[in-house]
């Protein structure tokens, strides 16, 4: 059966809203899956998307969904993707509101959370490894410029505490300098 693009966008982003745990970057593995499945956007656009969703105000997961939707079907796609992302949360959270005390005391829900945390971590780690493989190792040709940047940023994590903007800003400046050197 062939579904329309509109339906597929709603379906995929509804799934993301329903199955991501841990906020922000947790939806990255799903976006990689969408890319492999439908080829609506390429890896370059996905990297733009991560940078822009971090740099603009608003929840990162929502920003990524809106940006993806825009790349697929312009404004219509952006609205569809963000609304279908929000829908499952609106239903589940409103439902949980009434019984959240029981939810914390319930042993089964605690057990599910106990397993979902390492699951979510592993899914995100897999994306990190994939990015490292694509960017730095790059099919055998090790990118020493990229490796240097990565090491510098890694050393900075001991100095600066969590503020994602600083890391993005530093690497953007680095990219700009590399572009200037290459074009002259």
């Amino acid at each position: 059966m062939i579904y329309s693009v509109q339906f597929l966008i709603c379906f995929e982003f509804f799934k993301i809203g329903l199955f991501t745990f841990g906020g922000g970057l947790a939806s990255l593995p799903f976006l990689y899956e969408i890319m492999d499945k439908y080829h609506w956007f390429n890896e370059f656009q996905l990297s733009q998307l991560i940078a822009i969703s971090n740099l603009t105000p608003g929840p990162i997961g929502l920003n990524m969904a809106t940006y993806c939707g825009y790349n697929i079907l312009n404004i219509k796609g952006a609205l569809l993707s963000s609304f279908s992302l929000i829908l499952p949360m609106l239903v589940i959270t409103s439902f949980v509101f009434k019984l959240y005390k029981k939810f914390f005391e319930n042993k089964l829900s605690n057990k599910i959370l106990y397993i979902l945390r390492p699951t979510s971590c592993a899914l995100i780690l897999a994306v990190g490894v994939k990015l490292f493989y694509n960017l730095i190792i790059n099919k055998g040709n090790i990118d020493y410029l990229g490796l240097t940047l990565l090491l510098v940023l890694f050393l900075l994590t001991f100095k600066i505490k969590k503020d994602p903007l600083i890391y993005i800003f530093i690497s953007a400046v680095f990219g700009f300098i590399v572009y200037c050197i290459k074009s002259f």
Partner: protein, 191 residues
């Protein structure tokens, strides 16, 4: 009593403001909401807000949106939740659409590619930081570590994350019943 004094439009307005200044996602929203709803207006007490924050981290989806739904629901039932979400999401959606439109017009692709290549490398660091924080929050034991490795290997083989998460939930349910049985057996033996 509170419900009568709070207007839907007020909830929308406050969350619209929060949506405009929220940079950096889930972990920043607690101090901002605390300032707006506890310190400035005293609509919610602080313990309740912290409770809400914990719940919204445990539920599926985005932490900031879940928190806004809970606060909205507390203040004005379902329509409060609805206006909170729309308030929070309106400005990010508009901003992203505007930026995408601008990016389309930039024709110097080589320039953009170089910058986003570097930004991608910082994403590796961001992933590392996220993982460090998530790992510190959870209480890793041997089973967690085992499950972590299994999921990691599976996801390298391009197995859909949806399938992985659903099977994790099933594993939790099986583990739950299994442990209950052992406890019951122990109880029987004791008697």
């Amino acid at each position: 009593m509170q419900e009568k004094t709070v207007k839907l439009f007020d909830i929308f307005k406050i969350f619209f403001k929060i949506g405009m200044v929220l940079l950096g996602g889930g972990y920043v929203i607690l101090p901002i909401t605390k300032k707006e709803f506890v310190e400035k207006r005293n609509w919610i007490n602080e313990n309740k807000l912290v409770d809400f924050y914990c719940v919204s981290q445990c539920l599926p989806g985005i932490i900031a949106i879940n928190l806004s739904i809970l606060i909205g629901y507390k203040l004005k039932k379902f329509f409060g939740a609805l206006s909170a979400v729309f308030g929070l999401c309106l400005s990010p959606i508009v901003v992203i659409i505007a930026i995408s439109k601008i990016l389309e017009k930039i024709t110097n692709i080589a320039f953009l590619e170089q910058i986003f290549w570097a930004v991608n490398i910082s994403v590796i660091i961001l992933i590392y930081l996220t993982l460090k924080e998530m790992w510190q929050k959870s209480t890793p034991d041997k089973f967690c570590l085992f499950w972590f490795l299994v999921v990691f290997v599976l996801s390298l083989f391009k197995i859909s994350p949806v399938i992985i998460i659903i099977s994790s939930i099933f594993a939790a349910i099986i583990l739950y019943f299994f442990e209950n049985k052992i406890i019951k057996k122990k109880d029987n033996n004791d008697i």
